[in-house]
């Protein structure tokens, strides 16, 4: 025991960690140069970033905001001593045309209407998306919003959306009355028939009559005037909104025990998912009128809306099917054991949960559809990409390339990135709720 010469009895004071392990240097060492491979990657990445910025920044910084034509841009840059093909961007085209790129040919004094429509869209979606922060009474507004949205964009008499709404009310009333008196199935058929008869036959008389009594309305705008980003967003929003109920029906049909119904739904979904959107747009632009009664003719944007809706519905059905599949079996069995019938259990137990799980999927479907709206430029609609061609056909801007593409890409990016971030946030929020 005695050969221990020295025992330390008190703790050593804590030493500072080596300089190379903490602070900025430590961080750099750990995160950028931890071994030779990482160092190589870091150096390569830095070089790449430098190259891109060195090429891009001088081009972007170009005092051409006020120029009125490409030739003027060239003069401005020439005066600055900047020569060559990539001397600098010509921002004049964005300055002159950005409003057109966003609103298309929508009448200038009515810009407030699309703006209001999209702001209200946020309000209408709030109770669904931020259910914890917003009073649920707003849901009434959400239910009415689908009638307000087209009215704001297309304008016209207020009685048209009211008539459309009345169709639902009448259908619902018929359904209730008949299903109480007889069976749910008959009630369903009766409701659908009453609504259809109302929309197809009676509503036009109603609108005419009400219009002559009290002509309330706003200036109508034809869908031809739609263009630019407004067109993209309108197509995206309408397609998703219309495809949601259709997608629910298809998803339920696909899961159903009724063989014929199931195969019709599977066939539809797989067909739509198996062909590119562009072929469906060809159908919209060339064939849809052939499929409808002779003499029917509605304009191309409406036809595109129909085809994009069908397209989105097939994808929506798959998203909702995923939501349905993710629900634990016990939920279905629990609903059955309570003695609820099929529709009751769907309405009260299954759908609310399945839809909630599906929201991130629905958002990403929306992003997909929104991006795919650029395809309408191929059939001659003036979405941002189509407009960029039209703008380049203006003698002043003939020869402009990057500025327009860059601007359009930037707007799409901002929109889609925001949406995808939001959907990730939702996903996280929903996840915690389900564990």
């Amino acid at each position: 025991m005695s050969d221990i010469g020295y025992v330390r009895t008190e703790m050593l004071p804590e030493q500072e960690p080596p300089v190379s392990e903490v602070g900025a240097i430590g961080w750099v060492r750990h995160n950028l140069f931890s071994n030779w491979f990482n160092s190589l990657l870091t150096v390569l990445s830095l070089y790449f970033i430098f190259k891109v910025l060195a090429g891009l920044v001088p081009w972007v910084i170009s005092p051409t905001w006020d120029s009125g034509s490409l030739a003027e841009c060239r003069e401005i840059l020439h005066a600055l001593g900047r020569e060559g093909h990539y001397a600098g961007a010509c921002w004049g085209v964005i300055h002159e045309r950005w409003i057109q790129l966003i609103f298309g040919f929508y009448p200038e004094h009515l810009y407030w209407r699309p703006i209001a429509a999209f702001v209200l869209l946020g309000v209408a979606l709030a109770p669904v998306l931020f259910s914890d922060k917003v009073p649920s009474k707003l849901l009434i507004f959400s239910a009415l919003y689908p009638f307000i949205f087209p009215w704001l964009l297309w304008g016209g008499t207020i009685w048209a959306p009211v008539a459309a709404l009345l169709g639902f009310v009448l259908g619902w009333a018929a359904f209730n009355a008949v299903s109480k008196a007889m069976s749910t199935l008959l009630g369903f058929i009766a409701g659908a028939l009453v609504a259809l008869i109302w929309w197809l036959v009676l509503s036009s008389y109603f609108v005419g009559a009400m219009d002559s009594i009290a002509a309330i309305g706003i200036e109508p705008v034809e869908s031809r005037k739609f263009g630019g980003f407004m067109l993209s967003i309108t197509i995206g929003v309408v397609a998703i909104a219309c495809s949601l109920p259709l997608g629910i029906v298809l998803a339920l049909g696909r899961q159903s025990d009724l063989l014929i119904v199931k195969y019709i739904c599977v066939g539809f979904i797989e067909f739509i998912r198996g062909v590119p959107l562009i072929t469906l747009l060809f159908v919209a632009s060339t064939l849809l009128n052939l499929f409808l009664p002779p003499g029917t003719n509605f304009d191309i944007i409406l036809r595109v809306l129909i085809m994009v809706t069908l397209f989105a519905a097939a994808y929506m059905a798959e998203v909702i099917r995923g939501g349905l599949a993710a629900l634990p079996r016990g939920q279905y069995e629990g609903a059955d054991s309570l003695g609820l019938n099929y529709w009751q259990s769907q309405r009260l137990i299954i759908m609310p949960q399945a839809l909630k799980i599906s929201i991130p999927g629905i958002v990403s479907t929306f992003i997909g559809v929104f991006k795919d709206t650029t395809l309408v430029s191929i059939i001659g609609l003036l979405d941002p990409l189509g407009l960029s061609n039209a703008i380049r056909a203006d003698a002043n801007w003939n020869g402009i390339v990057w500025e327009l593409y860059g601007f359009i890409a930037l707007l799409f990016f901002a929109f889609c990135f925001g949406m995808s971030r939001y959907s990730m946030y939702l996903e996280r929020k929903l996840h915690t709720g389900h564990r």
């Binding site: 057109q100 459309a164 929309w199 309408v238 219309c242 009128n289 003719n297 001659g380 003698a395 003939n398």
Partner: protein, 338 residues
Amino acid sequence: MKKTVFLGAATVAGLAAGVAAAGTADDVKARGKLNCGVTTGLVGFAAPDANGEWKGFDVAVCRAVAAAVLGDANAVEFVPTTGKTRFTALASGEVDMLARNTTWTFSRDVDLKFEFVGVNYYDGQGFMVPKSLGVSSAKELDGATVCIQTGTTTELNLADFFRSNNISYEPVPIETNAEAQQQYLAGACDVYTTDASGLAATRATFENPGDHVLLPEIISKEPLGPLVRHGDNEWGDVVRWTLNALISAEEYGITSANIDEMAAGTDNPEINRILGTEGTLGEMLGLDNQWAMRAIKAGGNFGEIFAQNIGENTPIGLARGLNAQWTDGGLLYSPPFR
């Protein structure tokens, strides 16, 4: 979630609005607007400006028809169509007429069942090459890369031309004129071929137009004209004679400047018939007697429209050439108003 009925409502609205009646002319009058199919954008012929207002040579024809039928040159809805969608748009009744530099061919007339009401521009397919290439004839283009616009007659003409001259080429199909121009300027193709008017218009906007030459060969006849559907002769007549009125107006010296003066009556009975001070030509068309006067007032006579949109004083700088009046050695020849 009952998210939307809009589809139902929209369909109803569409059905109510769109059920076509028998005559296009009546439809147009009932609608108060003329639906006119144009290109999605071609310099000088049709393009929207910053205010969304369409301008160009083809556009002017639409406006003249609208002025004749509806009395308002601005009562036109311009429907941009691509090479692919233009014929279906017309066949399905989405547009009432097409003024979209469309070549009058047998199969379009007979097989696709359209009626070309006349020719507003006599064109032909030509070639443009950079001067530095040192080519003086299209027959020297063996092995060249050629940019062509798809969806037009030009790609068929091109295939025939190279085949019959037994030389090879590499086609680069392109959707729009703007892209073709970009590829050509970057040297991705040696030659750009399309209608000579289009070539001249494109060249005019280059940074250095002098560095490029149009080859002397014109390899096809491209009579470009407005067209309507088969089977509605009344409407076809309206469009045809509006175009003829513009052409005759130039021949007889009726301009937008002196038209009011001339409308008071002149010694020339033909002018009087055109302007409606004599005879009942308008009524025969189902219009009033001032129809031609309004059409000419809308944008001037044929010569004025030409000069304003694509003529020598515009950046596009096309000479009249074949499109001069027959009295000046051109092909423009309107049948008499009698």
